[in-house]
Amino acid sequence: MSDIKEISPAQLMLFGIIGGLVGIYLTPIFPPYTSILGAIGAICAVIWGAEAVRRVAKYGLGTGVPSIGQIAMGMGIIAAMFGLAIVKVLTKDPRGIYAGPILALITASIIGFIIGWFAQNVIKMKIPVMIRCMTEIAASGALIIIGFSAAVAGNYDFVGSFIPLVFDNGVILAVFWVGAVAMLHPFNACLGPDEKQKRLLYLAGSTGAITMALMGIAAIMTLGKMGAVTLLVGIILWLIFYKKFWDEVYNDAASVLGTGLIPKTEA
């Protein structure tokens, strides 16, 4: 594996955090036209989260990869709700809302850190990257939830938009589940001795994009025509990423195909 250059975890973390937050913050600028950016930000977070899942699940969790995607969304949704809602307690200033996504990210990191610490030191899982990865997974989970929800609601105001447009109609369940699958599926599908980061990242892009397409369908219900654009862009991104993943699979499979037939032993 040493000859393959991998993107470092720190670079992907920056990509996920910056991409995710920029996407979320740009969402309410020209409503509803910019709602699509929330979903694109969430795709950045999906790619980051999938890579974090890869690093921790490589050690073998004993419970399968899906469990970590589910705990990520469990932590993410608690932190996202807290971060977005708490700003109204802290300040009466209407500009306080801008702090929401960052507060959610910080809360998720804290919850993830605590759970990772307990998993490592109390449950004794003996996975050296557990604490760091749990923190990253929770943080990306929160960004995924806020990003995709913002793509459906048009902005990230918790009481004003999220509750009536995302929570009441049950779209949040789709965000929760499809988001979890987007994050856990790439490693669950690619794991094995010949697993490569590049292939996984393209697959993560494609699962993120298909989630975006589904959010587009939900956004048709809440935002009208703009939802169709999200749906269309989601499908286009999915096709692009899936083709890239497809090519990677063929590339990696070539070395297996090229070994030739088993040599005939002389009788």
Binding site: S67, I71, G74, F82, V89, I115, I123, F158, V159
Partner: protein, 241 residues
């Protein structure tokens, strides 16, 4: 929002308790994971999280349905509704699974962890196929599973009840959705933590692993759930539109 008021602290402790109930529930449910899916281990052939969260969420639906039609309901009634829903869900899963193990895969139900079934007293070890950890869902596993899922459902009902008390005065008709989603988040966190503790498979209350892992898992879940409880109550402060 006064976080240090006595009622608030009791509510945080109640959320901590319900998280602990969910965590405990996971240990009772006979989870076999992938080996059980190939009838090479005792239990239901799927993961801990799927079973615990699956039965718990059905419990959440039944308890919230009960609460929606009887808003003055007692907390015990809501918890009982949750326990009933979750237990029915898991019992039907185990019944269907058992039918497939018995008539589809054709394995005798036996546990490799105990010599005799503590409930029926039937000998187990002679029925365990060589090289496996037992097969199917023996009586003790079934009973343990029903008890466990009832605990999980009751835990889910309890969180929902506590949260509804905070959210419904503030956001009235939207409260059910927010409380339900938050409960779901706590559910997933608390069903994954013990599944890491048990390492993927556990047969139920009779498994030697049960005594070994329950204390540390319960401690972890209690701490994490109380943290979630504090978060949940602080969220209510931000709901003043």
């Amino acid at each position: 929002m006064v976080l240090l008021a006595t009622t608030t602290i009791i509510d945080i402790l109640l959320i901590g308790l319900s998280g602990t109930l969910i965590c405990l529930a996971v240990h009772f449910i006979p989870v076999g994971g992938a080996p059980a899916a190939m009838a090479q281990a005792t239990g239901i052939g799927t993961g801990t999280v799927e079973l615990a969260a699956g039965s718990g969420l059905v419990g959440l639906i039944t308890s919230s349905y009960m609460y929606a039609y009887e808003p003055s309901a007692d907390v015990y009634l809501v918890m009982a509704a949750g326990a009933m829903g979750a237990a029915i869900m898991l019992a039907s899963t185990m019944l269907a699974g058992g039918l497939i193990y018995a008539y589809g895969v054709a394995v005798p139900f036996a546990s490799a962890q105990v010599k005799k079934d503590p409930i029926t007293g039937e000998r187990q070890d002679t029925y365990v196929s060589k090289g496996t950890q037992g097969q199917g869902i023996p009586t003790i596993c079934f009973v343990s599973g029903v008890v466990g899922s009832a605990l999980g459902g009751a835990g889910g009902g309890l969180i929902y009840f506590v949260l509804m008390g905070y959210y419904s005065p503030l956001i009235t008709t939207h409260a059910a959705a927010v409380a339900g989603v938050f409960t779901m988040g706590v559910f997933y966190v608390n069903s994954v933590i013990p599944s890491y503790g048990v390492g993927g498979t556990i047969e139920g209350v009779h498994d030697p692993k049960f005594k070994r892992v329950v204390p540390k898992d319960v401690f972890t879940s209690a701490v994490v759930s109380m943290l979630c409880g504090i978060v949940a109550i602080l969220i209510a402060g931000g709901m003043t539109a």
